[in-house]
Every structure is written in C-alpha cells, then in structure tokens.
Symmetry: C2
Subunit: 451 residues, 2 copies
C-alpha cells in the first residue's frame, strides 16, 4: 500500500531505536526531577489561534506553521472557527491555559510541560523545525514571591547533574541591573543599548563600543556598559565589582539585591552550578527580572541549552495579571549535538534484557511461559522470532545488544541462561533469576567523543 516515494524532511529529526533510548532517558530524568520538585504536568493542544501566536511581543521573527483542513477549499473555512497554527514554544499555550482555567487552578501554579514545538524555518543545516522543549514555570495571581526566581535554575541544575553530560553552567543576570546602571549613567534608551551589548559574544567589545557610540552613547557611557557586561563571578563578589564602577540608581540596587539572593541560594544548594554573568540580556521585550542562560562547559560555542526568566505579566485578562518565572530546556538541540558528536550512548537498542530462545516451534508456548514469569518480576524480555539454530538466535540477541539468552529446560533438562558478552552459562529458575540492576534496563552513559 506504500509505494509513494520516501522523502526525508530537513529539520524534522527522527531517531533510530538506540538513539531513541537515549532520548527517553533524558526525558525520564527531566520529568522525574521536575516531579521531585512538585511540578505538575501540563500538556496543551498543539494548535493555538494564529492571533494569539502573533500577538506575543517580540516574536515577529518566529516562523509559524498554519494548520488548515485540506478538505476546505480556500476561503471555504468556517468563519466561526479561528485560524489555527502550531505552537512555536510552550509559554504562549501555557499563558492561554492559565487564563482559560484560572478558576480551576490552585495558585501559585507550578507546572512542567515537555512537548514538541514547531517553527516554520526555511530548511537549513542544523535548524530544527520540530523539536522538544522541557519547561517549568511558576505563575501566581497579582504578585509572585521572588524566591521562585532562585528556585528555577536550581531545579534545572539538578536535572543536569542527573544527566550523563558534562558540566552545565547556568548564567544568571537580572534585567534591573543593566536598566538601573544605564539610567544611572544617563542613558535613556535602555532597550536599544541592551540590544547592542547583547551582540558582545558575536562581534566582540570593540565593535560593540563602536555601535554604541554610533547610536548616540558617549565614549564614557560605552566603556561603562562594557565594564558592566564584563563582570562574571561565581560568588557574591559581583556586587562589589558593580559598586566599584561608581554608579548609583535605585533600580540598580533592586537588581543587585535580587541577583545576590539567587546566587546565594545557589551557593547553599548547588555550589558551582550558577554564575552571575552581567552580560546576559535575553528576550528584551517581556522579561522583567532575573534571566537565565546555560552553556555546556567546553562547548560554549554551541550556545545556550536552557534559558528563561521572570515576566511581570505572563498572562493578563485585563483585570487580573499573572506574573511568572520559568526556564526551558532545549532537549532536541542538546540531544542532537550530543548524539552527533558521539558524546552519549545506550548500551542496547531494545528494552529487552533477555531473549528467551525457542527450541522448536511446537514448544513456543513453553518459551512464552518463561517470558511471562520473567516479566511478572519486571524483567523486560522477548521470545525468539523463530526456532532457528541457537547460534542464529544468539546473533539475534547480539545484534540488538540484549545481554542474556535463556534456554528453556524441560523434563530433566534444567533451564539455563547465558550472558552472551562473557559466554558464561548457568542453570536458572524462571521464577527467581534476576539480572544485575545495570543490565535490567538499557544503560545510557557519557561516551568519549568519536574520533
């Protein structure tokens, strides 16, 4: 039934079985950690009204996929229904869900959301058009306690510690620091200045300075902006370093206090996980307090794998405002890079720990009974697809990385199980034998990079 030409679609990654096991492990660790921290799961529909997707400030550059029933001829679409598009992040649908269900949710509402999102990018190397994000947010009614801004990066720091990856550094800033600082040195155009300073990583300090002067800042202002952006400390010393620049402004004080609280919480709970980095700007248009970015140590050029921040108005229905703070892990981008560089591997390409051999097709039922006994004790297994020679059945297991092959006994013949890696073969009871914990499920581990 399926003779249509097979077409690879650029930007829509799909994983083979062993890679998918790596992805599942990552998603399981993320979910488990979020749940340990009391976040509740949310899954929103894939589509939102296009109005809502376009309505979000500063996202004109996000490419939206529109969704229409093929059966509708152009112009025939029911006018009672809004035009729909696929969501391009998880924040827009979350905000809509909060407004729609505010009366039925308990606030502060802690939710996590792990889902695919879509961006209608033009096909291009390394650009995903479908990818998985894993977000946590806390949203409250009217006011949001500042301690949540310290909590978010510590939850993801725990996620990263539990994953088989290198050291992740979460860089934290507070938007009020540059804002107060800029105002303190007489800069009115805070957003425009930030936008230029944000190019620091890409174009370097000289060009940033030139652009600032071109945009009307004085030489002295530009130097001060660069001095501020250059401050990065693992402890609270960033406060003194900012003070040493001699700038005074109440908004700057607020920002320094808030960032110090976040860094202090990090030093208490996860020393080394957070860094105060005053060049981090992010999403100028809606973040209003703490902002986060995250880099994998030794792979800074890969950019940020996890970012977010605080918004004073995550959502608003005109009467009530819902401030929030959230952080989002770019799961697909992280996995795509780790897998393509061979930095993480799975020990096998199937959940099965055991292949139960079949002696002859007539005794398949006996092999199935062994498998049922193993499964009843939580041991994943499958029964060999055919009563081929044992050598062939062992090769079937070997090709998939299944570590054990079970040879069913009968009458006087004992059951035996063979570890096909070592060749060791021992008598075994289907009601009692258990593999070592590390062989029960596929092991996902960091690997040396491929040459």
């Amino acid at each position: 039934m399926d003779r249509v030409k097979v077409t690879k679609l650029s930007g829509f990654p799909e994983y083979l079985p062993a890679e998918r096991i790596v992805e599942q492990h990552f998603l399981d660790v993320i979910r488990e950690t979020f749940e340990l921290h009391g976040f509740t799961s949310l899954e929103t529909r894939a589509v939102e009204p296009v109005d809502r997707l376009l309505g979000k400030g500063g996202d004109a550059d996000k490419e939206i996929y529109g969704v229409t029933r093929l059966a509708d001829a152009p112009g025939e679409r029911s006018s009672r229904e809004p035009e729909l598009g696929l969501h391009f992040d998880l924040t827009v649908p979350f905000a809509r869900f909060v407004l729609e269900n505010a009366g039925r949710l308990a606030f502060p509402y802690r939710r996590y959301q792990i889902q695919k999102v879509w961006r209608g990018e033009r096909p291009q190397e390394g650009r995903y058009r479908e990818f998985t994000q894993a977000d946590i947010d806390v949203v409250d009614v009217g006011e949001l306690a500042p301690h949540f801004e310290a909590e978010m990066p510590l939850v993801v720091a725990e996620v990263f510690r539990r994953l088989p990856i290198g050291r992740m550094t979460i860089q934290v800033n507070n938007r009020k620091i540059p804002e107060g600082f800029y105002r303190g040195i007489g800069i009115e155009d805070v957003a425009g200045t930030l936008r230029i300073v944000d190019k620091l990583d890409k174009i370097g300090p000289e060009k940033v300075k030139a652009l600032l002067v071109e945009a009307g800042r004085t030489e002295e202002q530009a130097d001060q902006c660069l001095a501020l952006a250059g401050i990065r400390t693992e402890d609270l010393s960033f406060v003194d370093r900012v003070r040493a620049l001699g700038v005074e402004h109440p908004v700057l004080d607020e920002g320094l206090d808030a960032l110090a609280a976040v860094i202090r919480a990090g030093l208490d709970t996860a020393p080394g996980a957070l860094v105060a980095d005053l060049r981090i700007a992010r999403g100028l248009d809606y973040y209003t307090g703490t902002v986060y970015e995250t880099q994998l140590e030794g792979h800074e050029s890969w950019g940020s794998f996890c970012s977010g921040g605080r918004y004073d108005a995550l959502a608003s229905d005109g009467k009530t405002t819902y401030p929030g703070v959230g952080i989002s892990i770019g799961v697909s981008r992280l996995l795509g890079l780790l897998l393509s560089k061979g930095l993480v591997t799975a020990s096998r390409s199937t959940p099965a720990a055991v292949l139960v051999a079949v002696v002859e097709e007539e005794s398949r039922g006996e092999s199935a009974a062994v498998a049922a006994a193993l499964r009843a004790r939580g041991i994943p297994c499958e029964v060999a697809p055919s009563a081929a020679k044992f050598g062939k059945q062992i090769r079937y297991a070997d090709r998939r990385g299944i570590p054990f092959v079970w040879f069913p006994g009968s009458g006087d013949v004992e059951h035996q199980v063979k570890d096909i890696r070592s060749g060791e073969q021992v008598d075994a009871d289907p009601a009692a034998w258990t593999p070592k914990t590390e062989d029960l499920t596929p092991l996902v581990a960091a690997a040396a990079p491929s040459p």
Copy 2:
C-alpha cells in the same frame, strides 16, 4: 502581553492537573508493559507529505490537516518541498519510517509508538481532532511468522489488566474465515458482502439480510452469512460451529487454523481475555489475516478502544515487501470516557507527597534543605510558597491533596511531620523518614461512577 481573547477549541481536549495525572498513569502503564515485551520506542515527526497521507488505501474519509508556513504567500511555497500534513494515525508514518530506514533496522522490528495524531473533523460533540494513540507493531522482511498475530492481543490484554479499569474483551477474527466461507457458498463479491455484514451491530440482522439480498445474494447465502457472523466463543468451539454450517473451502481452513492458534495462545496465557468473534471485519482494504477489536465490558455501546490486524504489505518499496501485524489503543477516547463518567480518579493533583512548611521567610533555606534531603531519597516535595500562618500552609497542601506537611525543627526543636488526613503528627528525621509506598506518588484508581 496576553490580552487576546481566550478561545476553547472543540475537539482539542486538555486536562487539568489531577486528570493529567490519570493520563500519565495510563501512558506509563502502557509504555512499561510494551517495554516488558521488548518493544522499542519510536517517535516519528508530526508531519508527512500529503501525497503519502492520501496514498493509503481506503482512507479517503480521513480528514487531513494541511500544514504551511504562514510566512509563505499562497503559491510562494518552495517547490522543492512537498506539501505537508499532520499524520492522522501512527501506521502511515511507521510504514514510511521502515522504508526510509530499512538498512539500519534489525528485523523482525518490534516497535511501540505513543503519540498524538490529528484529524481535521468538523467540530462536533465527542469527536476528537487531536488525540493520543498507543500502537505496537511487528514488521518483518518478506514473510512474517504467524505467532506474532497471537502475541499482539496478549500484550494489550496485559496492559488492560494493569490499568484501573473494568474487564476488556478483545474480539478476534481472521479475514480468511469470511472470505473462504463466502467463496465456499458461491459468493464472488467478498468485500461488498463484508461491508454489509459489518453493519450488523448498527442495523441488526433483518436489515442486513435485506441489504444482502438487494445486493444480489440469495436468501440462503444471506442466512449463511448471518449464521457465520453470529458465532462467538471464548474457547476453540467456534471451529466446530463453523464446520457445522457445512461449508468447505481451503481459505476457510487456513483462517480457522490461524484463529484457533491465536485463541489457543490466549487460553494458555490470559484466559478470558480473548474471544473468537466472527462478525469482526475492520479495515477491509489492507488487513489480510487476523483482525482485532476491543470492548469494555458493560460499556459495549462505547465501541472499540483498541483495534488492529495483520497486513501482508504494511510497506513496500516495489522490490521488498514488509508484512506486519499491529494493534492500537485509543488512549484519548478511553480516558475521555472514563474521566467524564468519573470512573477513574487520582488521589492528588500534584506529584508532591510532602509540603515543607516555612517558619519565616528568613529560614526558607532550612526548609529547602529538608526538601533536598527528602528528594535525595526519591520523595517528591515542595517548599511552601510563603511563610504564612501554618493553618494557611496546611490549606495549601490540602487543596492539592498533598498528604504530609513537614515542620522544620531547629536547635532543640525536633522536625515534625503531620499527616493532614488523620491529623497525626510525629517527630521525623529528614534523612530517614519515608512515607508509605501508596502515598509516595499519586494513586490512580477505579472509582464508583458519579451519580
């Protein structure tokens, strides 16, 4: 930033936290059972070329959602890229994935796939436009061993046994039985006859007989067709009952043997789970052997929650043919009905088992340390959002169904933990206290129907 009107979209269900916990439990049980049986996970992209979606036989009635970049003006779409649509099932993408990756997969390939699918139905009560399916399939190259046709329904029978639902009955038939039987009584138009007999549940035997005669069958042929469709047995006696109808045909013999093998495997492994039901027809156009449907006992009018069958050509590239057998659980439809009837509930609306109270905002760090100690031992918890009066903190836990509130000690004051259901409060050590297993994670259980 979010003042656009909030719009409910008919057919796109979304769950509140407690309902989502029920859904997660169902999905976890399904995944765990599939993995115990050695199925590997596959996730395919959400979109396929429209050609491929339309190409599948017999699916002209499936409504497809087309996907286009909003940024592309009509007609501007890059001609190098195929027109895309959202998948409406998991079989079409699976078949395409097999063809695309045949050289990198090990056959027989056992995969499970739990994903959203979309159908562009017109908005209508009870019709989902986005819903979750959970499929298993086994596909092989050239030939597929018949024992897989017995395995599929036994795997889903185990899923249903592990779920907090009533008894599911999996009805099994083999397409060769009606085919051989019809040919044996001189009927040439097998497909046309099946299509009419398939209406039995909806319009009853008299009307089916009238339609058959109208379509050119004799009275005697129509009676024989109805006699065959009326046979339903939990054991192997269906074979004798078919034989008693006195019809002979080699294809009928093949079908009876194959169905007997499936029912026999069911009697061995899961007595009562399978029923031979000779009226089951399903997907006339591609199923070629065993077919399955599943009903919840006492709720037969809700229709089938799980169906599938064998195809001789799941996929083909013109040179190689890939026969397969699969079965698909309609997770959203099942959950939607159970939740709307109040037949299943979660014990709480958050993963958190413990709320760690905060004595005063300055000691939040001490509460966070208690939470970290509990989490290190796998106990999900959250820290109270504010240092409100303890009564208010307890109400916060109560509203979410969190069973325990922890009161941090300090100095001479012991830590204490309160079970807010019983009111019992005891001294406790953050490094040692553990809740009962049934309180550790939310309990999802069958409930009496709401009045």
